[in-house]
Structure formats: structure tokens, C-alpha cells
């Protein structure tokens, strides 16, 4: 017995063995199965309760609403074959396709929709996104426990006809219907099994794919749903969603051919990836901005706020720091939303409210505010949540303000939830902010700064603004709505409560051979018609 040799050989075997095994079994994408890096582990796959984008992306493969979002962001018929709208915009009737099936073969009925919506509003389900259904007549009241569920404005007239009544005319209701909170659920399963959304077996959907395996925090495997009504268009045999939050891991897996599609990669790698043609930049309905706390001196002075906003060089920031082909934001509502005339873009109609890098005016305003060349300005701190990108932007802007206005602003970073807490409570002076639209209408941006809005972190109180927004909300006339919203937006910039920086884009890392991926302006990815070019 010689222990020395014995140990040594064990060690050798171990190391060489695992290396060798590594060479042989390094897993690459299987044939006709697409691997997509899907972000964090989903918190739930119950479409009535989920909130995040990673969840929405998974649900978009296994569920389908009455409508779906087309390539240009417009609502297209999905489970609903066609529909009728009343003149006042309050009543809808949806006619479901007869061949829409659940993944277990059951037909998708109007009852499934009715049940899904009403149970999502049920206070006992305590869905975080129930407010997405507040557009339904008495939706909010039921969620607050004020009325019973029969009062809610959704009713299955027969198996394939759904009648919907709204609280108020909602121009963008049809695009809302593509949102996951409006997906149907399989009534029998959901009613009888609280845990249905945690198990692939009971996770019955009506989308192009179905889940066959879910390894928590690791991956979710899908196969084609052969009962799907539009199965002919579905080309992929299966999908694999890899669950990781790490951008470096995602990129490494892409380059190692462990994933084929991804969205979350380090910004510093953008130029190289754009050069090699694997990175595409898609529009995304969101605005990156700095929010001013209008109650904290010296930011209670609109001139100071405006000066700060004007002294940002957005072009330079995008070119050198964010690098994602973003558009400089010189207004609040991003591009890509229809104006009164459907073909016109709200942003193009509204135009810019600022000039980029207008140092001259900025200096003048600062002097007018009583702080010439920044002299005598009380200390200002810029708050951001910890993230490489936010940090770089904050550092760059800090330097611009220093160089252009002679102001020294200090930077503070906080962990995400601490940061949210500070920002919600108004415990900051300037805070980094980003707002992503929930639905394809300017209102998703405009109503944020109403005095009683839960998201009015700027602590902005302007009755005139509230009046304009309410007018837009209560009208079903596109002309009136849009005009009111343009006026409201103008007001935001007169008061300079925020310094917009850029309109978001969404990078998509994708092998050039992969075609037919639909990346919606709301950030949701659809693999329904995806195929791999040979």
C-alpha cells in the first residue's frame, strides 16, 4: 500500500477525467432547438400575477391573448378572430376562433378569459398587476372589494363570444389585450389546483409552445404545442430559456454557442459585437432621465433644473457611453407611439422641447437663478442605483455639469430597493430614473406626473397638468386626447421637472442565421415564427 502514489493517481484521474469529460460533453445547441438567455428565474408563470419582463417573455411563448402585437407595434387578431367596438369606445365584443386550443387539446373559450380576468382582480389572489385590468368596468372596485365579480365588465356570452365593458374609453385597449395580464387561463386546471403554474404538467397554455421541463434558476425547456391553432407558422421544434442574470455569462454562453439569442450584454462589448454583425439594436418604449425633486433646494428653482437639463451633452453620452444607438431624448414621450393620425408619430408631431448641449442658455439660466458660474449653489447630490451603466452615465453627466456650468455635484449610489425607497419618498435631490411604457399609448408616460400618481417621484404638483391629463383620459376622440397630452408634455418642460437623457433601445444578440424573431417595442420577444436559416 503506498498512499502517496494512490492519492496522486486519484488526483490525476480526477483532473484529467473531468477535463476530458468536459471536451466530450460540452453541450451545444441541439438541432432545431433555439436557446435564449431569458434573464432571472421567473417569479411566477401565472400570467395573472406576473410582473417582470423575463416572465412576460416566457408567457409570450406559452400563452396568447385576444390580440397580439405585430411587427410595427400594432395589435393584430390572435385568439379573437375579429371584434366589434361601440361608438363611445366603451363596449367591445370579441369573437374567438373556433380552432383555438389549449395545450391539452381543450378548446379556448370566452369563459377562460372571463375567469382569468375576474380572478386576477379578485382581492384574495392579490395580484400585483391587477391594476392593469382597472380599465374593465368595475375592475378597480372589485379589486378593492367594493362590488362583487358579476359587476366586472367581462362576460362570456357563449363559448366563443366575449363581451367587454370598459370604465372609460381607452384608445389603446386593443394593444393592452396583448399584455400578459389579459391572457386566458385554463379554467378547470386553475380552479382546482393552486399550484398549477409551478409544474410543467399543469402549466397549460394556449400559445405556440408548451413547457416540458423547468429547472429552477437554470433553464426552462419548451416544445411545440401541437394543438396551437396557427401551428403551421411555428418552425422551431423547441426552445430552451436559460435563466441567468449575469451579462458576462450571457455573452460568454453566446460566444461559446451555448445560447443563440440574448438581450443582456455588457455595454462595453457593443462596438465589437455590432462590428461582427451579431448585435441588433431594436427600439424600446422607454425614456432614461434624471428626475428632479422639485421640493428640494436649489432644485425647487425651475431655472436651475432647466440649466442642468440643458447642460447635458446627450449626443456625446450616447456615442461614447451608452453606445446602444439610442436617440437623444429632448422630450418626455419616446418615439414609436401613434398620434391622432395613426400614421403620425406622437414624438414627431410634438417635436423637441429642448436643445441638446445648450450650454449658453444653461449658463444664462443659472445666472438668472442667482448662481452665476455656479457660485453660491448649495450642494447637490445625484442618486443612482448601482449598475455599471447608470454609474458611467452619472459620472459623465457630473463631469459635464462641472465643465459646462462649474457645478460640482456629488454622486451617491444605493442598492436597488433602498434606492426605490429613497426615490419614492422624495428623499433625494436628483435621481436617475427610467420609465418603460406598459402599453402603446403616450398616456403610459404622461399620467406619471399627476399630483396623485404613485410614481410622481418628482413630487410635481400642478393642477393645470392634472386637468389636461384627465381631459385626455376621459376622451375617446384621438384628436382631443393627443392635443391634451402634447400640451401636458409642454408643461413638463416649462417646469423642467426632469432632464431626459435618451430614449431606450433594446439590444438583441442573435446569430445571423436566426430569422423571424419578433422583438416588440414593449420589449417582449416572440419566437412563434422563428426559424434557422440553413
Amino acid at each position: 500500500m503506498n498512499w502517496k502514489n494512490f492519492l496522486f493517481s486519484i488526483l490525476l484521474i480526477l483532473i484529467s477525467g473531468s477535463l476530458l469529460a468536459g471536451c466530450l460533453t460540452a453541450q451545444k445547441s441541439a438541432k432545431n432547438v433555439l436557446r435564449y438567455s431569458a434573464g432571472a428565474e421567473p417569479q411566477t408563470l401565472d400570467p395573472r400575477k406576473s410582473t417582470g419582463l423575463p416572465e412576460a417573455n416566457i408567457e409570450a411563448q406559452i400563452f396568447e391573448g385576444l390580440t397580439t402585437i405585430g411587427p410595427n407595434g400594432q395589435p393584430l387578431p390572435a385568439v379573437a378572430e375579429h371584434w366589434t367596438t361601440s361608438a363611445d369606445g366603451l363596449h367591445y365584443k370579441f369573437f374567438l376562433r373556433k380552432n383555438a386550443r389549449w395545450s391539452n387539446g381543450d378548446p379556448v373559450t370566452a369563459k377562460d378569459f372571463e375567469y382569468a380576468w375576474k380572478s386576477a382582480l379578485n382581492p384574495r389572489l392579490a395580484s400585483e398587476y391587477a391594476y392593469q385590468l382597472y380599465y374593465l368596468k368595475n375592475g378597480e372596485a372589485y379589486n378593492k372589494g367594493l362590488v362583487d365579480e358579476t359587476q366586472v365588465g367581462a362576460k362570456a356570452i357563449d363559448a366563443h363570444t366575449l363581451e367587454v365593458n370598459l370604465e372609460q374609453p381607452t384608445a389603446y385597449f386593443l394593444s393592452l389585450l396583448a399584455f400578459h395580464t389579459y391572457y386566458p387561463v385554463h379554467l378547470q386546471t386553475v380552479q382546482s389546483n393552486d399550484l398549477w403554474a409551478t409544474e410543467p404538467k399543469t402549466l397549460i397554455g394556449n400559445g405556440p409552445f408548451k413547457i416540458t421541463n423547468w429547472i429552477h434558476n437554470s433553464k426552462i425547456e419548451f416544445t411545440r404545442n401541437d394543438f396551437y391553432w396557427d401551428i403551421d407558422k411555428v418552425k422551431m421544434k423547441g426552445l430552451e430559456f436559460i435563466l441567468t442574470e449575469s451579462s458576462t455569462a450571457e455573452l460568454a454562453m453566446f460566444e461559446n454557442r451555448q445560447v443563440d439569442v440574448g438581450e443582456n450584454i455588457p455595454v462595453s462589448e457593443y462596438p465589437r459585437l455590432l462590428n461582427t454583425g451579431v448585435l441588433k439594436i431594436n427600439p424600446f418604449l422607454g425614456t432614461y432621465f434624471f428626475c428632479f425633486n422639485t421640493t428640494k433646494p436649489p432644485l425647487d428653482n425651475p431655472k436651475v433644473r432647466k440649466a442642468l437639463s440643458l447642460a447635458i451633452n446627450r449626443e456625446a453620452l450616447i456615442q461614447h457611453v451608452t453606445k446602444g444607438a439610442q436617440k437623444p431624448a429632448l422630450a418626455w414621450v419616446p418615439y414609436g407611439l401613434a398620434d391622432a393620425v395613426e400614421t403620425a408619430d406622437f414624438r414627431l408631431v410634438g417635436g423637441n422641447y429642448l436643445q441638446d448641449n445648450d450650454i449658453h442658455t444653461a449658463r444664462r439660466l443659472l445666472a438668472e437663478a442667482g448662481y452665476p458660474e455656479g457660485r453660491g449653489l448649495p450642494p447637490i447630490a445625484l442618486l443612482y442605483n448601482t449598475n455599471e451603466m447608470h454609474k458611467s452615465i452619472a459620472e459623465a453627466v457630473q463631469e459635464m455639469w462641472r465643465k459646462n456650468l462649474g457645478i460640482s455635484v456629488s454622486l451617491t449610489n444605493q442598492e436597488w430597493k433602498v434606492f426605490l425607497n429613497s426615490r419614492h419618498k422624495g428623499d433625494y435631490q436628483i435621481a436617475r430614473h427610467g420609465w418603460i411604457g406598459d402599453y402603446a399609448d403616450p398616456m403610459t408616460f404622461i399620467d406619471m406626473f399627476m399630483s396623485d400618481s404613485g410614481n410622481n417621484d418628482a413630487q410635481y404638483k400642478n393642477p393645470e397638468y392634472d386637468r389636461l391629463v384627465k381631459a385626455a383620459k376621459w376622451s375617446s376622440d384621438p384628436g382631443v386626447r393627443m392635443q391634451a397630452m402634447h400640451a401636458a408634455e409642454q408643461m413638463l418642460f416649462d417646469d423642467a421637472i426632469l432632464a431626459p437623457v435618451y430614449f431606450y433601445t433594446r439590444p438583441l444578440l442573435i446569430r445571423p442565421t436566426i430569422k423571424g424573431v419578433l422583438h416588440s417595442v414593449l420589449g417582449i420577444i416572440y419566437f412563434k415564427e422563428t426559424y434557422i436559416e440553413q
Binding site: P266, E269, P271, R272, E399, L411, E415, V418
Partner: protein
Amino acid sequence: MKPTPTAFHSTPFPQEPLSTSLATGTSYWQDAWRRLRNNKLALAGLIFILLITLAAIAGPYFSGYSYADQDLPEANQPPSSVHWFGTDNLGRDLLTRVLYGARISLSIGVAASFINLTVGVLYGGIAGYAGGRIDNIMMRIVDILYGIPLLLYIILLMVVLGPGLLNIFLALGLVYWLGMARIVRGQILAIKKQEYVLAARLTGASPARILMRHLIPNSIGPILITTTLAIPEAIFTEAFLSFIGLGVSAPMASWGVLASEGVVSLRSYPFQLLYPALAISITMLSFNFLGDGLRDSLDPRMRK
């Protein structure tokens, strides 16, 4: 050879001059220093640490840039004669940033070793020497501090204190001595039953004296190793604390922060990781070699 008779005359035999080195009775410290000097790796480590300290103090004044000076069009430039270490993603001179980072990271390293050497050694020493019930209670407190999630403390500290270098020291001070305490306590349990300790106790030496003069010096090996290994850990914990918001405010950056920023762009701009990582690694190697050298030269048992 035939000696002459006069050779046998009695004579006072002159004492030859003794060579000075040993005769003067070299002190413990002189002896330790001599041994250290003879350990080439340790000496190299010491010299490097002195150099980098000097560079951290004086370097930024000579680099010609400030750590915050941006030049966006010059972003991500590889090393050149203008920017020796290249530039970062905002066009800042990386050399200057590494030199400034040294100030933060080295002071954190020093703070961490100080905490280890004082709180950790004393706590572990007392627990190990006292033994029995006191040991049990003291070590259970260590278990408790180990068990409570560090991240929670740090977030709370961040909320209460805000960012700043001193707050990092505080955060480190709360937990950075736990490992040392356990190791010292283990060592002391092992050596306190040895004869020389019993002898010291019989001569009436106070417990404090026994601890300081006998037990701790005889645990010097693990103590120094734990200390030198705690330094890099502290430096990277700082990067993590910065992430939570407890660290130094941007645009000032420590080595840990520079390295974690660099690692993200490893594929496109490897030099942005290379220099901070080299600075850290060489410094750590130096600390470790110095630690080993100190261990060899300070350990009373290694003296012959």
C-alpha cells in the same frame, strides 16, 4: 617543532576581541530583521509594498491627470505613451485611477489587517486561554455574527451612514475579525497545555502576560497567514460594499471597483482589467511573501 623553554612561561592570555555581531547580544527584533533581510522573496515583497505606497501617495501628482478628468472621444484607448495604462470607458487616464485606487485599497488592506491583529487576535486569544464556559460563550457570539447575513448589515449600515471610507472600516470592523478569532482560539487551545505555559503560570505570570508573551507569539504563523489572506478579501469586499453604496463615491474608484468594471469588458478592452488586476495581484503576492518572511523571522521557535 620543538618549543623553546621560554614558551612555557606562564603568561596572562589576552582575550581576543570578540566579533561584535553576537557579543553585543542582538535583540529579538534585530535578529528578526536579519532573518527577514535574508529572505529574498520577503524582501522583494516589502520593497514592492513600499514602492506602491509611495506611488499611491506621490504618483497622482506626477501623472498629469486627475482621476475624474474625462475625455469622451479618447475613451477605451489602449496603453500608449500618452496614457501608459490606457483609458477607461469615459476616457479617464487609467494609470491615475489605479494610483488613486491604491490609496483606497491599501488603506483598506491596512485597516483589515489592523482589525484582524487587534480584535481578532485578542478575542480568539482570550477565548482560547480562558477556555470552558467563557470560551463557549465567546465562540457562540462568533457563530452568531457569522450566521447573520453580512449583506443585511451592510445595507443597514449604508442606509444609516451613507457612503465613505470610514464607514467601510466600520463595516469591516464588525465582521472582519471572526475568522482570525476562530483560528487563534484553535491554536491557543492547542498550545496552552504545553510545559512552558504551565511554567509561566507557576511563576505567577498574569494571564494577560502569558497570553501576550507566550501564547500569541507562539501562534504567530497562523496569525500572519490569516492576516495576509484577509487583506485581499477586504479589498474585494470593498468593491462589493461599493456596489451596495457603502464604498467610496464615484468617480473615485478603488482597485476592487476598477477590476470589477474591467472584468465586464474583458473581451474588448482586456487592458482595463489587466492593470488593476496586476496591481492587486502583485500587491497581494508581496503581502503574502512578506507575511511568510515575517512568520519565519518572528516565530520564536524558528530561532536557533
